[in-house]
Symmetry: C2
Subunit: 330 residues, 2 copies
C-alpha cells in the first residue's frame, strides 16, 4: 500500500459513503442495496467485478470465470433473503480474445442460468488494453421488511454459517503452491475439492426464503469468516464470539489443519468462501434449523453475538491470534 | 479485427442473445432492460463501462471521467422515458492511483447526483494491473407500457433528435489533432464547445416524461446518428430517410463543415452524441413539440421512418455516401 492511501473499507468510507444518500444504499455498509418497489416488495441490487490476475487466474477455464463472476453476485442476493430476478454482465476483452474462449464463457453463464433460474437482462462488451475483467450486477426480489441487513443483530443471538469454511482459501494456496498437497497429506479427491471450491463458489440461493424468514442479520462470507463476522458484529454494534471447534470444515481442511497449524488461520481468515453468515434469535433457532434441513444446505451454529465489540475466535477455551484477521482482494 | 471474430453487434447476437430469456431483456437489442414491478411500474436497468485509452483519455480530469461514466448510463434511462432511481459504480484503480485523483472522481459524481437527483446505491472497488476503468449500472422507474423500445416505430412516423449532432465526434478529432481547429477556422469558444461536448455528455433526463408520453420508438445516439438511426429503423422493421440539412448542428460544427467536407461525415457517423433519437406519430408531433419546448431541450424533426429498410441521409436531394456509417467503441 502506498503511504497515505486508505484500504478498501477506508476508501469507501471516506470517498463513496457521502454519495450514498438513498436509505436503501445502507451507507454502503451492506452486501446489497434495496430499492423500494410497489406491492410490498423491495428490489435488491448488488454489483461485483472480478479482474484477471487479481480475483481469478487468467488461465482459469472461461466457463468457470463466467460462473464465478455471476455467483459472487448471486451470493449477495442470497444473503439478503432475495430471489434472483436477473443480471447484467459487462465483459472487457483483451486484444487476443478468441471465439473459443467466449463460447466457453457463455456456456458457463448458460449453465448457471439454468441452475439458478435467472436471465441475462443486458450488459456491455468493451475492449481493454489490460487484463480481462467481468463486472456483474444482479437483481433480486425480496419482501419489504424481510431483507436482513448486517446491522440487525443483537447480543445473545446465535451465529450460523452455511456449508464449510476455508475450502476456497486453502484451494487458492494449493493453486499457488502444489507442494502443499503433500505437506497437508491430501488425498486426490480432497485436493480437487479445495481447488474446485476456489474456482466455483456455491451461492446459497436455496436458503434465501429461510434467511428472509429467520435471520436478523446476514451477509455472505467473502473476505474470511473472522473478518466478516467482525463486520457483521460491528454493524450490529456488538461483539462476536466464535468457537473454532464448531466451525464446519471439510475433511480436506481438517486434514490440512492436522498437518499445518497455519492452515487453520488461513481457513478462518482467507476469502472466497461465499457461505452465508446469519444471526438467529435463540428462540427461532430450532425452527430455523428444521426448515434449513429440508433445503439440503448445512447450517451450523458456531457462536453468538455478545455485548461489547470485536471478534474473538476461541480454541480449547483460549482466543486464537489470527494476525490480520481479514482477507481483502483490493 | 482478427479474422473470424465478429464485431460487437455480431458478438452480442451470436454469444449473448441466447442468454437473454427474460422478455424485459428485449433480446439485448435495446438500450436498457425492463423488470416488471408492481403497481403499474417497470424498473429500467442499464449498464455501460468506460475504459481509459478506449472511451476516454487517461489524462481527462477525474471528475469528467466519473460524470461521463454516469451520464452515458443516465442517457439510456432518458431514452427509455424513465426517471432515474439510482446507480451503482464499480471503479478499477491501477496501482498508481492517488487520493487527489479519487477526490476529483467523487466530486464529479457528487455534482451529477445533485444535478440529476440520484443517489449512489452500491458498487465495488477493485485493483487492476491494467488501465483504469469504470462500470456503472443505472436504475430508473417507468410507467408500465410507457417504455419506448427501439422496435416501436412504423413507416410514416417522424424522426426527431434532441440538441445538436456531431459536436462530440469533432471534439474527439480535435483532441487527437489540435491543428484541425485551424483548418476548421474555429473560434476559441467553438473549439472549447466541441472538446467539452466530447468530455461531458448531457443526458436528456428533462425530456423523459415527454419521451414516455409521445415516443413510439426511442434510443440514445451513442454510436453516430447514421448508424443508430439505422438500428432504430431495423428494429422497427422499416427504413429511415434523414435530411442532412435539417440535422441540428452547433455553429462550431457548421463552420467545420464549411471548411472540410469530411467533417460532415464525421458529425453524422461519429459517436458520443448522447442525444435522443425519437419516433413520433405525425398526429402527435405538434403536441410533442409544444411540450418539449417547455423543457428547454431543443427537439428537431430530421426525417421519417419509411417502408423498406436501410438508412438514407439526403443532401440537396441526393443520398450521402457516409462510408462505414456507424462508429463503434468496441
Amino acid at each position: 500500500m502506498t503511504v497515505g492511501r486508505p484500504d478498501e473499507a477506508g476508501l469507501i468510507a471516506r470517498f463513496f459513503r457521502p454519495l450514498a444518500t438513498a436509505p436503501g444504499a445502507a451507507l454502503l455498509l451492506d452486501d446489497a442495496a434495496t430499492v423500494p418497489a410497489d406491492g410490498g416488495r423491495e428490489l435488491v441490487v448488488t454489483t461485483d467485478a472480478i479482474v484477471a490476475g487479481i480475483h481469478f487466474f487468467p488461465d482459469d477455464p472461461p466457463d468457470a470465470i463466467a460462473r464465478k463472476a455471476l455467483r459472487v453476485n448471486l451470493s449477495d442476493i442470497a444473503a439478503k433473503g432475495a430471489a434472483p430476478a436477473g443480471y447484467l454482465v459487462t465483459l472487457a476483452l483483451p486484444q487476443d480474445w478468441t471465439t473459443d474462449w467466449l463460447e466457453g464463457f457463455v456456456d458457463g453463464l448458460a449453465a448457471d442460468q439454468e441452475e439458478f433460474g435467472v436471465s441475462l437482462l443486458g450488459g456491455d462488451t468493451v475492449r481493454t488494453p489490460g487484463p480481462l475483467w467481468v463486472s456483474v450486477t444482479a437483481l433480486g426480489h425480496a419482501q419489504e421488511g424481510h431483507v436482513p441487513r448486517r446491522s440487525g443483530g443483537a447480543p445473545g443471538q446465535r451465529l450460523y454459517v452455511t456449508g464449510t469454511i476455508g475450502d476456497a482459501a486453502l484451494g487458492l494456496r494449493l493453486r499457488r503452491d502444489e507442494r502443499l498437497a503433500l505437506r497437508w497429506d491430501l488425498r486426490r479427491a480432497e485436493k480437487e475439492l479445495l481447488l474446485d471450491r476456489y474456482l466455483l463458489p456455491e451461492p446459497r440461493l436455496g436458503l434465501s426464503r429461510i434467511v428472509a424468514a429467520y435471520a436478523t442479520a446476514a451477509m455472505d462470507v467473502s473476505d474470511g469468516l473472522a473478518g466478516d463476522a467482525g463486520k457483521l458484529a460491528a454493524a450490529s454494534r456488538c461483539g462476536a464470539v466464535i468457537d473454532a471447534a464448531r466451525v464446519p470444515v471439510s475433511r480436506a481442511v481438517a486434514r490440512a489443519v492436522e498437518h499445518d497449524e497455519a492452515a487453520l488461520a488461513a481457513a478462518l481468515t482467507g476469502g472466497d468462501d461465499y457461505e452465508l453468515l446469519l444471526a438467529i434469535d435463540p428462540g427461532d433457532a430450532p425452527a430455523f434449523e428444521f426448515e434449513a434441513a429440508a433445503t439440503g444446505i448445512a447450517v451450523t451454529d458456531i457462536g453468538a453475538l455478545v455485548e461489547g465489540g470485536g471478534i474473538e475466535i476461541d480454541r480449547q477455551g483460549r482466543p486464537l491470534d489470527l494476525g490480520r484477521g481479514s482477507f481483502t482482494h483490493f
